[in-house]
């Protein structure tokens, strides 16, 4: 009785906070309301909806031994206490997506992204992660691709695999572009990030050669050296002799990252990849905890309006209306197909009890959503004028603080040139104008929060700390992603000519790494050279591809639920699937065919053809831009067609199962009673 009363209070508090957010009509609103609304919703959803999923839909059974128990090998199949595994899983799913996506989507105001981040997670994103984790656990830790193949047939399996590879290429390109925009012309940032390379190699030798297996010692030393490099970066940036060596243009950084991706993919993992992975995991967990603490202490007021005029599709950061583009831009903060890969990777092999999957799958994604809520707070606490000055493309703003101020005044926000100049000086940069990509504005927001909570006067240090943290773990995604892409390509090309599939054969490794790097490198360079700043076209492409992968995962989940004989509950994955398909296919269609050249790739291509004919665009450059538009349109179409095919193949399976033309036998591993004491 008492607990019912407590839950009623939690629900009431959450509902009240939503009410305040929805009805508020003042200049600013405190971030506390946002946090309260989110947390209230999470608690109620976790307590009631995820329990419904566990008991009714999935049928979690603690008498059944998990793969960690049955196949225990002390290496990857390791029974792991649930809170430890929660940390492990969260560290694996949290990345740059939930931080960058909501910052970009703040163009529509803070309310649309907050609603989608919170309700999207509890009804779709967390359901996907949980169902896939549970299904993989019941199948000895099989991957999403293997499950797609088993549940829907080999064709769907192959399609899923090719889509994952293609999505990886777009993902790596767009994340690399975020780093380029954060580090260009910033000697402090470039110096700090360059320092991570020798630090990682040093850690690698420590763990492999000098003191084998002592990973914690090496990581502790690495974190200390990294913080020293961060402090040292300031002296480099202020030194007239050293600063020019570390002041790199966007294109230079892009080529350096491409070279780095290739080297990291072919070098032995112990030398670079593994130490950087540890370093970035610790920085990530530490920074997210610090940010949460900072928001709780500082309780900043949000300056951004709840909804801006740009819901009509005229936004400067990316084109397109609130529907469907808010749902594409927020990306991983609400639902991410990529999580289905992690949830069918290491985590299912470590669960002690079936009931633990609820906290780890559903709860882990709630945590990710909370990171996205913090990113929304960090973006929305900036003055909207400042936010748009940082994030709008330079071509729109004109090159100077003066012209930027005038353009932004035209949008109905105010920012003085002096504000932008002094803000840049305060964070130790020459300029903050036109740094699209989300990372710099997030870093400014984080610096505000952290310096507000833990002492003023350190703005520049906090800003570069935030930049370093974002660049560090994006680069970790770039190097591990390139390597994973290389393995997938080798596996696929092994079907064509067997030796190409041997991951230990050096020529094949060099070739496959080169192809993967060239693929994402091409999109990266395209983004850097793009007059609109690249994020404008690449981020929606990434959002679309990631959501389409989520559609594949939700289809597999629906098939699994129907096959297990619980078809009456199939709506838990089928309804989110329909919503994801509606938003993503609409967005994809508009990106290809919209008549507005800012939005549609084909219309943009036609505009360029016109400009070449008029003589306002140089022919060679124009031809390249036109090719890029055709390429982007083709890729979007391929993603859409591949996903629709997988969903159709799944739907055929559902009909066969529901009309009993196919027996509802599941592909789970046989039941084994657990030996653990209840």
């Amino acid at each position: 009785m008492l607990s019912r009363l407590a839950w009623a209070l939690v629900a009431l508090a959450g509902a009240m906070a939503w009410g305040v957010l929805a009805l508020h009509r003042g200049e600013t609103i405190n971030a506390a309301w946002l946090v309260l609304a989110a947390v209230g919703t999470y608690l109620v959803a976790f307590r009631f909806y995820s329990r419904f999923l566990a008991t009714r839909v999935l049928g979690a059974n603690d008498r059944r031994a998990t793969p960690a128990e049955r196949l225990s090998n002390g290496r990857d199949f390791v029974p792991t206490p649930r809170w430890v595994l929660f940390g492990h899983h969260f560290a694996a799913i949290a990345g740059a997506g939930p931080l960058v996506g909501p910052v970009l989507a703040a163009q529509f105001g803070y309310l649309p992204s907050t609603i989608w981040v919170v309700f999207g997670v509890v009804l779709a994103g967390a359901v996907q992660d949980y169902v896939i984790l549970f299904a993989s656990m019941r199948r000895d830790g099989k991957s999403l691709g293997q499950m797609a193949k088993e549940e829907t047939g080999p064709f769907a399996g192959l399609l899923a695999m090719v889509s994952v590879l293609a999505i990886m290429v777009i993902l790596l390109a767009v994340l690399a572009l975020v780093v380029v925009n954060a580090l260009k012309d910033s000697p402090w940032g470039v110096f700090t990030i360059l320092c991570t390379l020798p630090i990682a190699v040093l850690m690698g030798f420590w763990m492999k050669v000098w003191r084998p297996g002592r990973t914690l010692e090496a990581s502790a030393g690495g974190v200390v050296l990294l913080l020293l490099a961060l402090v040292g970066g300031r002296h480099v940036a202020e030194s007239p002799a050293l600063a020019p060596y570390f002041t790199w243009s966007g294109l230079t950084i892009a080529y350096a990252m491409i070279a780095y991706g290739f080297v990291a993919s072919v070098l032995p993992v112990w030398m670079l990849l593994c130490p950087r992975d540890y370093l970035s995991t610790f920085m990530k967990i530490g920074t997210i905890l610090l940010l949460a603490l900072g928001i709780l202490v500082a309780m900043p007021a949000l300056q951004m309006p709840a909804v801006t005029r740009f819901v009509d599709g005229t936004g400067p950061i990316f084109a397109g209306k609130l529907f469907p583009f808010a749902f594409i831009t927020v990306a991983c903060g609400a639902i991410s197909g990529f999580h289905a890969l992690v949830a069918s990777g290491t985590t299912p092999k470590m669960l002690v009890r079936e009931s633990d999957a609820r906290l780890i799958g559903y709860g882990g994604m709630i945590m990710e959503s909370f990171v996205a809520v913090m990113a929304i707070c960090a973006a929305a606490l900036l003055d909207p004028g400042v936010y748009f000055a940082i994030n709008a493309p330079l071509t729109t703003l004109g090159g100077t603080a003066q012209s930027a101020a005038e353009v932004i005044r035209g949008w109905g926000f105010t920012v003085t040139p002096a504000t932008m100049t002094s803000l840049a000086a305060e964070v130790g940069e020459k300029t903050l104008l036109g740094r699209a990509g989300g990372a710099p504005s997030l870093a400014v927001g984080m610096a505000h929060i952290l310096s507000g909570a833990f002492g003023r006067g350190l703005m520049a240090l906090w800003y570069h700390f935030a930049i370093m943290f974002e660049a560090l773990f994006i680069l970790t995604t770039v190097d591990t992603g390139t390597r994973v892409g290389r393995f997938m390509l080798q596996e696929l090309s092994g079907h064509l000519w067997r030796p190409l599939g041997r991951t230990s054969w050096y020529p094949s490794t060099l070739l496959a790494s080169g192809v993967v790097v060239a693929a994402w490198g091409y999109f990266l360079v395209q983004g850097v050279l793009d007059p609109l700043g690249g994020i404008n076209s690449l981020w929606p492409l990434f959002g679309i591809s990631n959501q389409l992968l989520a559609a594949v995962a939700l289809s597999v989940g629906t098939t699994i639920i129907i096959r297990s004989g619980r078809a009456r509950y199939a709506w838990v994955t089928a309804v989110p699937l329909l919503w994801i398909l509606a938003t993503t296919l609409t967005a994809g269609w508009q990106k290809i065919f919209a008549a507005d050249p800012r939005l549609g790739f084909l219309a943009h291509r036609a505009l360029e053809a016109q400009q070449i004919a008029d003589g306002t665009l140089e022919a060679a450059r124009g031809a390249r831009l036109m090719f890029n538009d055709s390429l982007d349109a083709t890729i979007t179409a391929v993603f859409m067609i591949a996903t629709v095919l997988v969903v159709l193949a799944s739907a055929r399976e559902w009909v066969l199962l529901l009309t009993r033309r196919k027996p509802a036998a599941d592909n789970e591993s046989p039941f084994v009673e657990t030996a653990y004491a209840g």
Partner: protein, 60 residues
């Protein structure tokens, strides 16, 4: 005191996905008694092969 420090370090290792040699030794003693035991170096190498094999371990 020493035990709780060890327990904490083990938690940190697990969260970061680091190898845990002590856990491996326990597992071998428990499930495969009498079989040869890898050195810490050998264990670290097999861990690396396993972890950075072919499936994504990190996300966007």
């Amino acid at each position: 005191m020493r035990d709780s420090l060890e327990a904490m370090l083990r938690i940190i290792r697990r969260v970061a996905g680091m190898p845990d040699y002590a856990a491996q030794l326990e597992h071998l003693r428990h499930c495969h008694p009498g079989e040869p035991v890898p050195t810490e170096r050998e264990f670290y190498e097999s861990y690396l092969r396993n972890r950075y094999g072919d499936a994504p371990t990190r996300c966007c």
